[in-house]
């Protein structure tokens, strides 16, 4: 029995022991099975995810913002120096003999450029060699290399910025065929030599990396294939851990299962991270080419593509700007591998390693160089487009930014500020400035400066610094006077003036020099910017009328009807001042200032355009008289230093402005082809030892002196007649008489009596009558 029991027990015991094992085993099987099922399900999900992301819109592509294209035609005011500014912005190489697109050669009066061509929304410009002849700061002739004349051609526009998504990734998408073969060879040679043989992962590569890691005692190298790198960048985060590695492998294999090697390589070229500029992450070789060489990728040479391929391993470690020697060693290693693999000949190798890195300085990159202008563009775009469309749909935004004018304006403003600080020593600290430049006939904004650090993306003074405009308001007062029947020689009273307001407050304005000038003709009161005359005149006219004039000139901001308005207590931003003066420069036609010409989708289809719009709000006659007075301001008034530096023929018109306690120095003025508003001041609103004339006007002059100017000429309207006037008496005179000045009048409003040339009135009795008449005009 016992013998029978033992086995029973032992059977029981035997039965019990395997049961636990079995249970464990079964559990393991189940777990294993569940894991396989879960893994399978995960794979299916991963597969769906991979395909969706790969086939759908892969990247949020920022909107691209372009400057205006430079139009080339015979007769264009353009110097060789201007052309060089433009071509540098476009990343052209200056060579002794052009052979390919993106190159230019120069002699003293001639330039040959090989344009790259561009697909504009309204037609394509193809790449071609252009021969340009220059004379006296003008493009006199333009022809093909064969000598055939070309009436008009557009250069490609400079890419000046983008509107980035929240992750700050920036990229210019390219297609595989855009990439130079050398880049593909170099990438494969240095990063994944088995690329075209493996199935997403490379056991050989992993083994090699493991061996290196064991030897180093730490994780120094991954055996990632290009496919794995794409997976890592595209789908996963960049943590180096085992879990990520484990995910990478099946994902890479799945990707290879669905897509061809070329498709994967193209995605890689666009995805890979290659550099960092502040918050902006540089992705893809299309943008890398521009970021490091300021050239399109198609134009890169062997030594350049080798550098880009070498960067992939560590864009920060091998940053060619911060670590040029390290970067060159890496580049030369890439070239050496290419040579060893017989992708390049010995001669090519030797030639390439002898080349310098050829990296452009950040300062020469125009993308991101114009934050203030871009700010205006973005504000206008946001009225029509959602942020997500702007930063992801690859929109193309064509603006009217003129990089040549912007460059000149920046130089003038920054230099003037430095000069003024130097001249006034400790009296000016941290002088700031801003500027708006427009084309007066079209209303296009061509340059904006938001502060003396022109590349700083912070406070945009041109748009947001609302400061008292001082005497810049006076043209509105004098225009109102003209509309109310004053002539340019109507006498106004510049004697001391005190106004007691309803609430008992007393307003006693003063002239800048604290002197009064008695009775003065209207035109001289504005030319010399007399405050007493203006205050009295404005109050006689009525504040509401002056406000109405300001509104007709384009000021939309609510304006308080305080007497101090007449001397410029009202605050406006420089861009608002530009809108106001634009109406004066454009003969009374108010036009919205435009910075955008057209927006297209990424295929070039027009989404919106911003056509030329205008509305006449001031009569041609009245504006002509005002223009005359503003020309006189430039000839002999507060802005007369213009003609110390600029040719007499430009016939500029403008107005100086100095705010209360000299906190702001303004100048607003125009020639035939440029209107510029300059503001100087301090952010803490401190007083300055500057007036509009000694401050802002100097920057305006410096800028205009570098521009190819056209004279401001306004055709005299039919209702205007010019008469020779004796300045002493205000009576008719003749052109050969002493003290005679030719002055415009509305037909029939001029004086009827004449003086002779020695200054005697023909009819002394009428003198007093006429004087009284003038008073009541």
């Amino acid at each position: 029995m016992a013998t029978t029991k033992k086995p029973t027990r032992s059977r029981k015991a035997k039965k019990t022991a395997p049961t636990i094992k079995q249970k464990l085993l079964t559990l393991s099987y189940k777990l294993f099975f569940a894991m396989i099922v879960l893994f399978g399900i995960a794979l299916v999900f991963i597969d769906i995810h991979i395909r969706q992301q790969f086939e759908g819109k892969r990247w949020a592509v920022p909107a691209k913002v372009y400057a205006r294209p430079l139009e080339l035609y015979a007769g264009l005011p353009l110097s060789l120096g201007d052309l060089k500014i433009e071509l540098r912005g476009l990343g052209y190489q200056f060579v002794s003999k052009v052979t390919q697109p993106g190159q230019a050669e120069f002699s003293t009066t001639k330039a040959i450029i090989y344009s790259r061509g561009f697909n504009f929304p309204d037609g394509n410009e193809h790449a071609q060699q252009l021969v340009l002849d220059f004379s006296n700061e003008k493009l006199t002739n333009i022809s093909t290399y064969q000598g055939n004349p070309i009436p008009l051609v557009r250069l490609e526009p400079i890419l000046v910025g983008g509107i980035y998504p929240l992750n700050n990734e920036d990229r210019d998408l390219i297609q595989l065929q855009d990439a130079p073969q050398g880049l593909l060879d170099a990438l494969i040679a240095i990063e994944d030599r088995d690329y075209y043989q493996h199935f997403g992962i490379s056991p050989k590569g992993i083994a090699r990396a493991m061996w290196i890691n064991i030897k180093a005692g730490s994780f120094v190298q991954g055996g990632s294939t290009l496919t794995q790198q794409l997976i890592k960048n595209f789908y996963l985060n960049s943590d180096r851990n085992l879990a990520r590695k484990l995910m990478e492998i099946p994902m890479a294999m799945l990707l290879e299962l669905h897509y061809s090697k070329d498709e994967i390589l193209e995605a890689y070229l666009n995805e890979i991270y290659v550099g960092q500029e502040g918050a902006r992450a540089i992705h893809g070789f299309g943008l890398a080419s521009n970021y490091y060489f300021a050239q399109p990728i198609q134009e890169l040479k062997l030594h350049q593509v080798a550098l880009l391929a070498g960067l992939v391993k560590g864009p920060s470690y091998y940053d060619p700007r911060r670590h040029p020697e390290r970067s060159k060693r890496r580049r030369d290693l890439v070239l050496k591998v290419l040579n060893e693999q017989k992708s390049i000949t010995d001669a090519q190798y030797k030639q390439a390693i002898a080349m310098p890195l050829g990296i452009v300085k950040r300062a020469s990159l125009l993308k991101g160089a114009y934050p203030a202008y871009l700010d205006l563009v973005k504000r206008q775009l946001r009225q029509t487009y959602r942020d997500q469309d702007l930063n992801s749909e690859g929109l193309r935004v064509f603006t009217s930014l003129n990089p040549i004018a912007q460059n000149k304006a920046e130089t003038a403003l920054v230099n003037t500020i430095s000069k003024l600080e130097k001249r006034h020593g400790g009296k000016i600290k941290k002088l700031q400035g801003s500027m708006v430049v427009t084309e007066p006939q079209t209303g296009e904004v061509i340059a904006i400066i938001g502060g003396r650090q022109t590349r700083y993306q912070g406070f945009n003074r041109a748009l947001d610094a609302v400061r008292p405009i001082g005497s810049l308001v006076k043209p509105a007062v004098y225009l109102t006077a003209i509309e109310q029947g004053y002539t340019l020689i109507s006498e106004v009273d510049d004697s001391p003036y005190t106004l007691t307001m309803k609430d008992g407050q007393v307003w006693s304005p003063e002239n800048f020099n604290h002197q009064s000038h008695g009775m003065v003709p209207l035109h001289q009161a504005i030319a010399h910017s007399y405050n007493l005359a203006t205050a009295r005149l404005g109050m006689d006219l009525g504040l509401e009328k002056v406000i109405n004039t300001l509104q007709r000139l384009g000021v939309t901001r609510p304006i308080d009807a305080f007497p101090s308005l007449l001397l410029g207590a009202q605050g406006l931003s420089p861009i608002e001042v530009a809108t106001m003066y634009q109406t004066i420069a454009a003969n009374g036609f108010q036009m919205p200032l435009r910075s955008i010409r057209m927006v297209t989708d990424n295929a070039g289809q027009e989404l919106s355009s911003y056509p030329f719009q205008l509305k006449q709000t001031v009569s041609s006659n009245s504006i002509h008289l005002l223009q005359y007075m503003m020309q006189e301001t430039a000839r002999s008034g507060t802005a007369r230093s213009i003609y110390h530096h600029l040719p007499s023929s430009i016939n500029a018109a403008g107005k100086t402005g100095t705010s209360d306690q000299q906190r702001d120095s303004w100048f607003a003025g125009f020639t035939g082809n440029r209107l510029a508003i300059v503001w100087l001041g301090q952010d803490d609103n401190a007083s300055l030892p500057l007036t509009g004339s000694s401050g802002a006007l100097q920057a305006w002059i410096d800028y205009m002196a570098t521009e190819t100017l056209e004279p401001f000429v306004s055709a005299s309207p039919e209702g205007i007649e010019y008469l020779w006037i004796d300045q002493q008496s205000g009576q008719l005179s003749a052109d050969h008489c002493t003290g005679a000045q030719q002055i415009p009048f509305l037909l029939g409003t001029g004086p009827t009596l004449a003086v002779d040339c020695v200054g005697q009135y023909n009819d002394p009795v009428s003198k007093s009558i006429n004087w009284v008449k003038q008073l009541f005009r």
Binding site: S620, S648, V713, S714
Partner: protein, 197 residues
């Protein structure tokens, strides 16, 4: 009676062609208020992108004037602001002609938006050429954007001051536009203005 769009196009096209013809042959009378003096020699005109300005020669500013008139104290300055009564249309600029032809061809195909794009390009090249404004006003007229059409035509008027032929054509165009917009009295007024030239 209301005119049809086609009638406008034909009428306007005829005038545009006439203008184009005129501008190449038109001898522009250049007046300058400084040139009336028998003592003063005609200064050499400064021609710049279609505008003509005649600076006064330095010798016209005599010593006594300099002492009495602050206007003449600057070494470089001429006596007074310049404002000739006539602005010459742009010299035949091949780029401008190419763009006007392109715009014309778009208009004939009925693609007025493209025509406007070409004309705005032309405007940037020659912002004071009346043909640009005439053709641009015409596209707005055809698109029945009468308000803007009239404003663009008025801008043309401001440019061709002193040139009777062109003033006549612009005021007739304004009359067309006002008529189309239903502004009969305004049209009559514009026609009367046109008839003065």
């Amino acid at each position: 009676m209301k005119l049809t769009t086609n009638t406008y196009r034909i009428a306007v096209l005829t005038v545009v062609l006439a203008m184009a013809g005129c501008s190449s042959t038109l001898v522009v009378p250049t007046e300058d208020r400084n040139s009336t003096s028998p003592r003063v020699e005609q200064a050499k005109p400064v021609v710049n992108d279609g505008a003509i300005a005649i600076p006064l020669p330095e010798e016209t500013v005599n010593q006594s004037q300099q002492s009495t008139a602050p206007l003449m104290t600057e070494p470089n300055a001429i006596s007074v602001p310049m404002s000739p009564s006539v602005i010459k249309p742009a010299q035949q600029n091949t780029a401008l002609v190419a763009l006007l032809n392109e715009a014309n061809s778009y208009s004939q195909q009925g693609d007025l938006r493209s025509a406007q794009t070409s004309l705005q390009r032309a405007q940037r090249i020659a912002p004071r050429d009346p043909q640009v404004y005439y053709a641009l006003a015409n596209t707005h007229l055809t698109l029945q954007d009468y308000g803007l059409a009239e404003q663009v035509a008025l801008k043309g008027v401001s440019i061709v001051q002193g040139q009777p032929d062109q003033l006549n054509q612009f005021w007739n165009l304004i009359a067309f536009i006002r008529e189309a917009a239903g502004n009969t009295s305004g049209a009559k007024q514009a026609r009367e203005t046109a008839s003065r030239y």
